[in-house]
Amino acid sequence: MASKDSPSLPGSSLPESRGVSVAAPGSVLSPRARAVCRRIMRRLALLIVVFFGITLVSFSVIHLAPGSPVDLETTMNPLADPEARQNFEKLYGLDRPLPERYVKWVGAMLRLDFGVSFSGDRRPVLTIISERLPLTVSMNVISLALTLLIALPLGCVAAARKGGWFDRITTIIVFIGFAMPGFWLALILMLHFSIEWRLLPLSGITSLEYESLSSWGKLMDLARHLAMPIFIYTFGALAGISRFMRSSMLEALGQDYITTARAKGLAERVVIFRHALRNALLPLITLLGLSLPGLIGGSVIIESIFGLPGLGQLFYKAVMTRDYPLIMGNLVIGAFLTLAGTLIADFCYGLADPRIRSGSSGDQGGVA
């Protein structure tokens, strides 16, 4: 269906491409290694284009918006005169034309220099971000691991017993999970677990007496503080991934090789977990790569509710104080993490699915 002149797109292995079943396998004669190499090179080139696209969009959005960070210190300060304003602009480099600033910024960025924060302490952006990154990343990794641990069996069982009571109950939970605003769930949990039952701390990441605790005590203290945020992340991601797993599994179970496996007299357990599951897992790899921007974006709300000093909270503060270098740094790091995620996902996909190396992609049904 896809005609000759349409380029094979990196995104064509994504769930949305359900309509086009790219049936033509193309020529598979080229050596495998070369194909893989070419594929990776093409991906990398595209990633670089996308990465600069992101920096360009971020830069223009931030700098073309009306108002300037100088406003906060001049128009709101009756003592500041126009000269002070110009001095500030010079200090921040805001007096130069926009393209020049962009080129300068890119040049510095390539040397991993994101500039210094506009805020009082004038610390390097990279330092500030690298202080905040570990918390956000580790919380997301933990909740992602938990999500997979729960969602995979859930999706498998629901698919294997489609229409059964388990499937129906999980479907209901999934729909509620899709619709549940994370911040409302956070409020409900806080009200019950922290205020009424006094089981978990309300906010922050450590207790006041943290330093005096034993190392086990410290770990427990952290766990108690992070329990609710991680639960909310997990609950939010659970719905999407288990639903995706279910439809992916259903698709795999409808294939001919499953009928063959059953006809051979294999146990249903073997059919499901060995034959179907392996194939059903493939599209999930892409989904995980794609879900990264959402995770990073979602951290803004959860972290500001629970007062966690992570990337999301940092970004919120940076936006509110118009800290241009810090905002740019955050956007770029966020985009970089996402791109790295999709690249890894794509690479894993290539390793796991022999079909992908020939440039054709399977047709995956999925949830939007």
Partner: protein
């Protein structure tokens, strides 16, 4: 998977027993009706807000004294009153207007952009396609909530700005969807026939291709409304959406957060409203997907 579904439903519809097919029908359309009911209630609440509201949603009633504030739900105030003595029920109704506006306008913007770009990319291919799809990649890799937050904080947080920025950051999925459909449609005989008959590209796209991509677009738009409502409420909850005193479910939740311990109803009702409305659009979208195109399950 689709074959499985088809085989199953074919088997049951062939079943002559009426009761069974009724149960089957409820299973099939029950979620659709539930979705329609929830969406309908939200739309009705928004449209009828001026008639149903007990009090002005913004006007303060301080003349009633301190007795008026933090009243739990009662017949006079079905959802209680807030920290300024305003009727929560009335504010909820006006909040429904906000979510309705945001949902429809931002998805309208996103769909318009997405369908146009998708048709053009899929039909013309080549360099145009390449540029559009790279733009899609760029936008998809953005932590889009970061971008929305930045723009809203820099511009003014107003209803119009929120609708526009949500629309401008959510057209990518529709573009991909429409492009994929167009790619396959343009090879079909009826498109070739139109081309041979001398139809211009614009006419082919609008008269022949567009009608055939409407079904999946409708599904994706319905699901998109749910997403837009969630995004708006998240923004308002962060204080960057609708500005007080104008009510939106998100900023009502923010106010409810301040008095979580003493007034559960301030956060319960707005949260429930968001949950049910989003649930409604999701159910509607998923059911439409089943009905319009069994392949899409």
């Amino acid at each position: 998977m689709s074959t499985l579904v088809v085989a199953k439903s074919a088997g049951t519809s062939a079943n002559p027993r009426g009761r069974f097919s009724l149960r089957r029908r409820i299973q099939r359309y029950g979620l659709l009706w539930l979705g329609l009911f929830l969406v309908g209630s939200a739309v009705a609440a928004a449209l009828l807000a001026p008639f149903l509201a007990v009090q002005d949603p913004v006007q303060l009633t301080l003349h009633q004294g301190l007795d008026a504030i933090f009243q739990p739900p009662s017949p006079a105030h079905p959802m209680g009153t807030d920290s300024l003595g305003r009727d929560v029920f009335s504010r909820m109704l006006y909040g429904a207007q906000v979510s309705l506006w945001v949902g429809f306008v931002s998805v309208g913007i996103a769909t318009l952009i997405g369908v146009t770009l998708g048709l053009v990319a899929g039909y013309f291919g080549g360099i145009v396609d390449e540029i559009i799809m790279r733009a899609v990649d760029v936008m998809l890799c953005f932590p889009s909530f970061f971008l929305i937050l930045t723009v809203i904080a820099f511009l003014e947080p107003s209803l119009v700005n929120i609708m526009i920025i949500i629309g401008l950051t959510s057209w990518m999925r529709v573009t991909r969807l429409v492009r994929a459909e167009t790619l396959s449609l343009r090879e079909r005989d009826f498109v070739a026939a139109a081309r041979l008959a001398g139809a211009k590209s614009s006419r082919i796209l609008i008269r022949h291709v567009l009608p055939n991509v409407m079904a999946p677009v409708l599904v994706s738009a319905t699901l998109g409304i749910a997403g837009a409502i969630l995004t708006e409420s998240a923004l308002s909850f962060l204080g960057l959406g609708m500005q007080p005193p104008m009510p939106s479910w998100g900023n009502m939740l923010l106010e409810g957060k301040e008095s979580l311990e003493i007034a559960w109803w301030l956060s319960f009702f707005p949260g429930m409203a968001i949950l049910l409305t989003v649930l409604g659009y999701n159910l509607l979208g998923e059911s439409l997907r089943d009905l319009l195109d069994p392949r899409m399950r």
